[in-house]
Amino acid sequence: MSISLNLNGQTHEVDAEPGTPLLWVIRDELKLTGTKFGCGVAACGACTVHLDGEPVRSCQTFIEDVEGAEITTIEKMAEDTVGAAVQQAWLELDVVQCGYCQSGQIMNAVGLLRENAKPSAEEVDDYMHGNACRCATYQRIRAGVLRASEILEA
């Protein structure tokens, strides 16, 4: 089927079978590789994108359900006020190690800060629980979200 996707502010016509995860359209068809494949079962968060501003796992979001929605990926975050603050905090604290999960971590963190501009450490842990990092950069992810909150407040 042919589907019109609104992704990062642009319209893309893509040909994909119903049931195709949004992740594979983004990666294989649109060649935007910042969104990562980690588990395929929504258990790691590496594939997190925004659907109408809300974080979703693109490996379990199907193409037929996103027509008309506004899809945003990591590649667009620098232009987003909250996204840019999170990226700045990530750089200040050198959060990343291998970096493979970090697009998803950042997309989820932006979702949290949009909902809750001043989260506590515990609220960060609750919201970020589903985003796995096998390098275990969690201390810095937590600190990074709190730092981004400060940057946004300033």
Binding site: K36, C44, I106
Partner: protein, 728 residues
């Protein structure tokens, strides 16, 4: 520029600001420099005429910070800031880019990236600096000794100019055989905690390119359905349902018989077409054992006489001493198989160029492995095979298999095509968990005899498990007198002075492929050593730190181990804990580095343990990039604790039971509330930090849980969650 330019012609073009200076080792290993394009394969340092420097990194970057570390060494010696230098990954060439601790083999592992490169990369940077300075001194007619390069500017003797202006002339200078290395007092970047990772910017904006992100024109995606039991082979398969999947191209049994490769136009089509395959397997020669059978075999070996007397002790005498001791502590430990599960599932892409070269795009941890294998598979000389090293999304050992497993699999899939289309091999998470090369299962039985004062008088230590090194090309290197050192490392070479120790080892049969897993043998030996030391202290009514210090009285090794132990205790406020909290400590040396860890917990094993805080002290010699050292400690602690909490790979009828993160649950952000790391100031040569944080983390947790109450016990079998410990 082309290779047949005359020297004069080349220099002319160099003067036109396209000059590039390469400094590095030539194929004979000597330092050499060239400004011809042909020298591109032989360098560690590249400087362009606009004054930018580029470090050529011979080690993979999979999160441990090697790219930043190696670049730091070049920048420091050359005299540029980290903003004036870039990094690139070196091509595969073991004659030049070998790991100096691995022999003629290019590869990353054993926490050696900085340790083996520290002098080599500084020397390359210093040679480049001296050649640029010589060129400037000649032009300015001043003494080279009066010049230095500071932030990319050659300066001194009243003169100053950007180093880029001397790139072409520097190429004409003799390469200094022994360039002067900057004294530690001159260092501005080495040891500077403000240095940031060079790969952070591209890893926060989606631009970082991992092997999984390779999209070559016209590429096919291949996924393989592998035998669920080790040793199973394909008898026949039916791909009629796969043919219904849009984008399916073909299916072929691999020549090894261990699986069927499905070729498709894209990843999703490959996944669906693979799921639709029907395969008939021959399991007659396949592994059929369960985890319980493997465990029973290991535990039985612990109660028999060991195959190898590792330390040549008189075990009969040791046993007699232990039996006659005032107190005898006896404990049997068991450690399950573990998967590495790096975030980026295994993958690589192969293409053939118009010239017939084979190009592999890979997050290559040991490029020499696939490079050698490909010479056989493709019947090509080494120079016709190129390996393009990409960023790797973690490894923890998995990307470094002695048989180059996934790269060979990709090559086998590729040779069954007409080679007109690149082949990208993709594993999914289920492949990763089930097709693993696992941390081998291991068992230990330890009997420790204490005298009336609580002092150790005898220590009978038996180890049984599956050898990692035997049957691999590393056997000659790592196995001596039958003993695979990786099975007993951390015991056999412990800095503790333990009187009357016997150490025995028995190898058991491998039910799966086994492999080094972040910190290798230390993953289990540190746990056993540190839990037994803790138990001995507790039984004797002594403080766990003071007790250990009694066995760390020597100089060197023992003193450094004692140093981190004391620092961690001091920083963690050892000796007191808030009501309802308890602290446990462990200390271990591995890969030349010393790490002590204090874990503070609350709660109880029935209602849930909470890990409140982890405090670590690290001595890794000179901390090249201190913030990276701290980050590696944090990550290694999380890796060790997460698996000890709740992970294991189990077999049923020879098949792995787990499949993905829901049943091989990673450490999560809420599992450890805080980690604090302290570095011991040191002038010793740098050692590794990728792994040494892992070994003491899990025993410190076990010791903390055992300290929660007088009747709390040290968990002896992992994972803890399957052995009586709930986590909140």
């Amino acid at each position: 520029m082309t290779a047949n330019l005359s020297r004069r012609g080349f220099l002319k073009s160099a003067a036109a600001a396209v000059a590039v200076l390469y400094v590095g080792a030539n194929t004979k290993g000597a330092m050499a420099a060239s400004n011809s394009a042909d020298a591109m394969l032989n360098h560690f340092v590249k400087i362009t005429a606009d004054g930018r420097a580029v470090a050529l990194c011979k080690h993979v970057e999979f999160g441990q910070g090697s790219a930043t570390g190696l670049t730091t060494l070049i920048a420091e010696e050359l005299g540029v800031t980290m903003e004036q230098i870039d990094y690139e990954f070196a091509p595969s060439n073991p004659a030049i880019y070998n790991n100096l601790l691995f022999g003629p083999f290019q590869g990353t592992g054993g926490s050696t990236a900085i340790a083996n490169s520290f002098t080599q990369y500084r020397t390359a940077g210093a040679a480049a600096r001296e050649m640029l300075i010589s060129a400037a001194a000649k032009e300015w007619d001043v003494d080279a000794g009066a010049l230095d390069i500071v932030e990319g500017v050659i300066t001194g003797a009243g003169k100053s100019a950007p180093m880029g202006e001397f790139v072409a002339a520097a190429g004409e200078m003799e390469v200094p055989a022994e360039p002067r290395l900057r004294d530690a007092s001159e260092w501005k970047i080495i040891g500077n905690a403000q240095t940031r990772r060079l790969d952070s910017p591209i890893k926060v904006n989606g631009q970082a390119q991992f092997a999984m992100d390779v999209h070559l024109d016209n590429q096919m995606v291949v996924m393989v359905r592998r035998t669920p039991q080790r040793g199973g082979t394909v008898v026949a398969f039916d791909d009629s349902a796969s043919k219904e999947v849009k984008g399916f191209i073909m299916a072929q049994a691999l020549p090894t018989g261990h699986g069927v490769a499905v070729y498709a136009e894209n990843t999703w089509a490959a996944m669906q077409a693979r799921n639709a395959l029907e395969i008939e397997w021959d399991f007659s020669a396949a592994e059929t054992r369960s985890s319980q059978e493997i465990k029973d075999e290991i535990l039985a070996a612990l109660n028999a006489e060991p195959t190898y007397n590792v330390n040549k002790a008189d075990r009969t005498a040791v046993k007699t001493t232990v039996d006659g001791a005032a107190t005898v502590l006896e404990k049997t430990f068991y450690f399950p198989l573990l998967a590495h599960a790096p975030m980026e599932p295994l993958n690589c892409t192969i293409e053939q160029t118009a010239e017939g070269d084979i190009v592999l795009h890979d997050g290559a941890q040991m490029p020499t492995g696939p490079h050698m294998a490909y010479q056989q598979i493709f019947e090509l000389p080494a120079e016709k095979i190129q390996i393009k090293s990409m960023l790797a999304g973690g490894s923890f050992g998995r990307r470094a298999t002695p048989d180059a497993d996934y790269q060979v699999e990709a090559a086998l899939a590729f040779i069954m095509t007409d080679r007109s289309r690149p082949v990208k091999l993709v594993w999914d998470r289920e492949d990763d968990i089930r097709g693993g090369y696992y941390r081998p299962a291991a068992g230990h039985k330890v009997r420790v005899g204490l005298d009336e004062t609580g002092a150790i008088i005898g220590w009978d230590h038996q180890v049984a498990g599956q050898s990692i090194m035997k049957g691999t090309p590393f056997e000659a290197f790592a196995v001596h007198d039958g003993v695979d050192h990786s099975s007993v490392e951390g015991i056999a070479d412990s800095p503790y002075t333990i009187p009357g120790q016997a150490l025995g080892l028995t190898d058991t049969e491998k039910a799966t492929s086994v492999l080094w897993w972040r910190s290798v043998g230390h993953t289990h030996t540190a746990y056993v050593m540190e839990v037994m030391m803790d138990l001995a202290a507790k039984t004797s009514g002594k403080d766990a730190v003071d007790y250990r210090l009694d066995y760390l009285t020597g100089e060197g090794d023992a003193a450094r181990k004692a140093g981190v132990l004391k620092l961690a205790a001091e920083k963690a406020g050892w000796g007191s804990a808030p009501a309802g909290h308890a602290k446990g400590i462990a200390v271990h040396k591995s890969f030349g580095s010393y790490v002590a860890t204090v874990v503070e917990v609350s709660g109880n094993v029935d209602d849930g343990i909470v890990i409140e805080k982890v405090t670590a002290a690290v001595d890794c010699g000179i901390a090249l990039n201190p913030d990276t050292v701290i980050a590696q400690a944090e990550g290694a602690i999380g890796y060790g604790i997460g698996h000890a909490m709740r992970d294991q790979i189990t077999l049923d009828g020879g098949a792995v039971e787990q499949s993905n993160f829901p049943d091989y649950e990673p450490l999560r952000i809420s599992d450890i509330k805080a980690i604090e790391t302290h570095i011991v100031a040191s002038a010793e040569a740098p050692t590794g930090m990728g792994e040494p944080g892992t070994p003491p983390s899990a025993p410190a947790l076990a010791n903390a849980i055992a300290a929660l109450s007088t009747d709390a016990e040290h968990v002896a079998e992992l994972p803890m969650s399957a052995n009586g410990v709930e986590f909140a």
